[in-house]
Structure formats: structure tokens, C-alpha cells
Symmetry: C2
Subunit: 141 residues, 2 copies
Amino acid sequence: MTVHAHDESDLTRNQLLVLDTLSQSGGPLSAYSILDQLRDQGFRAPLQVYRALDKLVEFGMVHRLESLNAFVACRHPSCDAHETIAFTICDGCGQVSEISDDTISDRLQSLATDTGFALKKSTVELRGICHKCQNAVRKVM
Amino acid sequence: MTVHAHDESDLTRNQLLVLDTLSQSGGPLSAYSILDQLRDQGFRAPLQVYRALDKLVEFGMVHRLESLNAFVACRHPSCDAHETIAFTICDGCGQVSEISDDTISDRLQSLATDTGFALKKSTVELRGICHKCQNAVRKVM
DNA sequence: ATCATTGTGTAATGATATAACATGTGTAGT
DNA sequence: ACTACACATGTTATATCATTACACAATGAT
């Protein structure tokens, strides 16, 4: 029984299709836009997407962006080291970057521990404008 | 024209009703459950709640919890110092606590700045089990 | 062979959020 | 007073996100 270390060969057809759709998009997608892109492959209902997403998130191969109600493929090519703790999300172009930072994760963990809070999952999402989009705005002005 | 430093006297009737509902609940509420609680006061449609919430969030008097799709009244009694940067959310009892921590906010800001990202808003939500609920589980076992 | 587990397909529904348009209300400028 | 403007409101309809419930199929363990 495999516990971790999932790779693509462990995935079902539906999970693979959903993961591929997300990977190829290069950015966040809603469950319903994944569904639309997979109609040709036989997808008919949201549940087919949500079920695949649940597993992929569980495996750490996809992340859910709470502030967007959307999903992104993990950028880590091999499926170890899914230790992302934060995301930047550009409100201009939608680009998402993953950040790993021990200062923050350690600090969050100790803030929790200090108050007796058993931390299960951290959501850290930074909304703003990426470097490229800031330059793009300057050009227009 | 007042720019900041809103207090209750600046609020419209609808905004006051929504804020009171949230304050009295002591925890997070969805927009629709706020709506249900305000039917007696004449509320009929979700938009009445969402519009009030938009303003209250803008004023810093209410926070949106992204991972819950819900809203809480800011715990700060006077409406200065809405500098909360993080929340703990207990998955057992639903209790929400606000955390202000310069280590984290400074670090998030500098991670953003380092990559040329213009940070507008940080979402930091810690999901887990609070101290009380951990004890409650022990009793049952 | 049977049973449990897991994945799948499908329809219906629930939950969250916004668009579009009409109406009211206070206030500043004339 | 009248107008123009900004802003809050009311209402209907619709868009978007997510789950429940039920039936069936494939796999693997006993």
C-alpha cells in the first residue's frame, strides 16, 4: 500500500485528465472550467472533476486557492517536497507563484502552539500585482 | 468627507443591522445566514447583505474568511488598529481568533517586495483544533 | 465466491455571489 | 427652488461553486 510518493502512474484516468488540464493551463482554473475543457474526453458532471480534485489535493499534486475558489497544479515537478506554504496571486494577469519560507511556517506553527491550537492546515495567499503587470500599467500611462 | 476612523454612527441602517448580527453571533456567519436572521427586519434579498458586508469589510469592521466563505465582526472594539493579519479557525467549534504578528507581516511583505510583487492584501488562515476542543475529545475517549 | 474498498456515472439539489435595472434620498452648486 | 450628482436601497433573475443520493463497475483480500 502506497502512502505517499504519488506519481502520475498511480492516478486514475479522470485524475490524470484533470491534472493534465491544470498543468497545461499554467494557471488557476475553476472546477467548472476544467469540466468544460474535458467534455470532449467524456466528462459530463461537476462531480467527476471535484472527485479527481479531492484526490489530487490529498496527494499534494494540486493546490486549492481559497481566495479564488480555484485550483492550480503544484509547480514541483517531482511530487516530493510539496511544502509550499504560501501563494502570490496577481490580480492583473492571474499568475500564481508558490513560496516556501521557513520563517513564516515556523512562526505560524509557534503562534498556534503557543495558544494550544493544533494546526492542521495553513492558508496563506497574497493578493496584489506582479512585476510584469506593474510595468504593463506604466506603459499605458 | 471622512476617509477612515469609521464608527457605528457612520453606518447606514442595513450596515448596522448586519454588523450587529455578526457581533452578537460571536463567530463567523455566512451571508445567507445573516440574511435569514434579518428577515424580520425587512431583509429580502442576498444583495442587501452583500452590499452591507462589502462596506463593512472596506471599513475594516468585518473580516472575510476565505476558507469558510463566511464573515466575522472584527474583535477590535474601537475601530482603529484593524491590523489583524491572521486568523485561527477551529474546525471543532468554529471559533475564530485574530492574530497580529509583526514577524509574519514583515516577512510576507518582504517576500513580496523581493520578487517585485505589489502586495495589496494578505490572507492568512490557520485551520485546526482549538485547546478547548482538544480537551473535549480526550473526555470522550 | 463473497465481500469490502474505491472509482465511476448521473440527476438533482444546495450554497455562495453577482448582474441589471428601477427607485429613493441627501447634498452641493446654481 | 431646481438640478445634478453620488450613494444607498429594493427586487428579480441569474451566474457560479459544491455536494447529496443513488446505481453500477472494477479490483483485491479473505
